[in-house]
């Protein structure tokens, strides 16, 4: 099985290398991209899409398909981390902490299970007591980080930013919570199931906005056809479509980031530590 995988990887690599031979040189002024595409984007983007940020216009409108599958790739990365690393097996030895006194119990018999709840709670070997200073500062900072992330997502079509960046910032705020408190705190706030659903929901929003355009009589991701559905200035419909798409990207990236972090850092066991 490993050998077959090796052969497939080598073949794909060879094909990619073979394909690059046909490309025009790096920065070649006579290449089709420099002659036709770039000029068109630079001169016509504002006129055609009403979006001041050229990068977003190219990313979410002219090359919407590309970005859609990029989002799918991010989703697949999260899914792969979950499928490869998630470990549902029961632990052989367990640690419990008495909530009131902080006394730690080490149970070596795998059959004995203490009831967790009011008196005892789960813990594991890697657990370190989190620091008051770090906890307080992170509690102050996390809301600001999240507001900033929403700002970056919402302003993607007017200023630098967008779904990917905003999603990463939002995901990093979740990771900061996991670092400053512990993994259990994050998982009690945001359930693993919710993260999985959100990752899929983000991709669904993107594809859904594209798919709605088709029964309205346009091509896939042809935002202009959404005019009857959305109130407001019809000239800005492309900007609004891009905003919707960016929100989808942001949700998918946030959830995928959190899933990847949680699974890698605890080797799929979702322990309390780190």
């Amino acid at each position: 099985m490993k050998f077959i995988g090796f052969v497939i990887v080598c073949l794909t690599g060879a094909l990619l290398l073979y394909g690059t031979g046909e490309f025009p040189d790096w920065g070649d002024p006579a290449s089709p991209a420099s002659i036709h595409l770039s000029n068109h984007y630079i001169e016509k983007a504002l006129e055609e899409t009403q979006v001041p940020n050229l990068v977003t216009a190219v990313l979410a409108d002219y090359r919407g398909f590309d970005t859609m599958f990029e989002t799918a790739v991010v989703f697949c990365a999260g899914l792969a981390c979950f499928l490869l690393l998630r470990d549902f097996s029961r632990k052989k030895e367990r640690f419990y902490r008495h909530t009131a006194t902080g006394v730690i119990l080490h149970v070596k018999d795998s059959k004995k299970v203490l009831k967790t709840g009011k008196e005892f709670e789960h813990m594991d070997k890697d657990w370190v007591p989190s620091d008051l200073i770090i906890k307080t500062i992170c509690r102050i900072l996390i809301p600001f980080i999240q507001i900033y992330a929403l700002y970056v997502v919402a302003h993607g079509d007017f200023s630098p930013g967008g779904g990917f960046q905003g999603g990463v910032i939002f995901g990093s705020s979740l990771i900061l919570l996991a670092i400053s408190y512990d993994l259990k705190t994050l998982l009690s706030r945001v359930k693993e199931k919710v993260l999985g659903i959100f990752a899929a929901l983000g991709v669904l929003i993107y594809v859904g906005i594209g798919a709605i355009c088709m029964p309205m009589g346009g091509n896939f991701l042809d935002y202009v056809k959404l005019v009857p559905l959305v109130p407001g200035d019809p000239h800005h419909i492309r900007a609004l479509g891009m905003l919707g798409v960016e929100i989808g990207v942001g949700i998918a990236v946030t959830a995928a980031m959190a899933v990847i972090y949680i699974n890698i850092v605890s080797e799929g066991r979702h322990d309390e530590g780190l």
Binding site: D131, I134, I137, C138, L141, F144
Partner: protein, 107 residues
């Protein structure tokens, strides 16, 4: 006005330079964190003060708002930089790294 701005920028640069030299020259992990955490904070404070004063040369409400936003950067660096340094030192202590002393330790 320009002179004040330049003065602030130079002060900021001086502290940043001191921090960079300190990170290279200090003898061990904990002492290196000292310039990394402290001098950057003061350096960024002086720099942003200079830049926001420069921004306020043509006084208007927008310029004032922009300067306030610049000071938000300082505020967050003031919060996060010492906390980051603190947590790194904490991790070093927990990992059992000994601090540097002048005496030679017997191997």
């Amino acid at each position: 006005m320009d002179i004040i701005v330049i003065l602030f920028l130079v002060i900021g640069l001086f502290f940043f330079l001191g921090g960079a030299v300190g990170i290279i020259r200090m003898p061990d992990f904990y002492t290196r964190l000292h310039p990394a955490g402290k001098l950057d904070t003061l350096g960024i404070f002086a720099m942003v003060t200079g830049l926001s004063l420069y921004n306020l040369q043509h006084f208007s409400f927008e310029a004032l708002l922009l300067s306030a936003k610049m000071f938000l950067i300082v505020f967050f660096v003031f919060l996060s930089s010492p906390t980051a340094t603190h947590s790194i030192v904490d991790a070093g202590m927990r990992a059992g790294l000994r601090h540097w002393t002048k005496k030679k330790r017997r191997g």
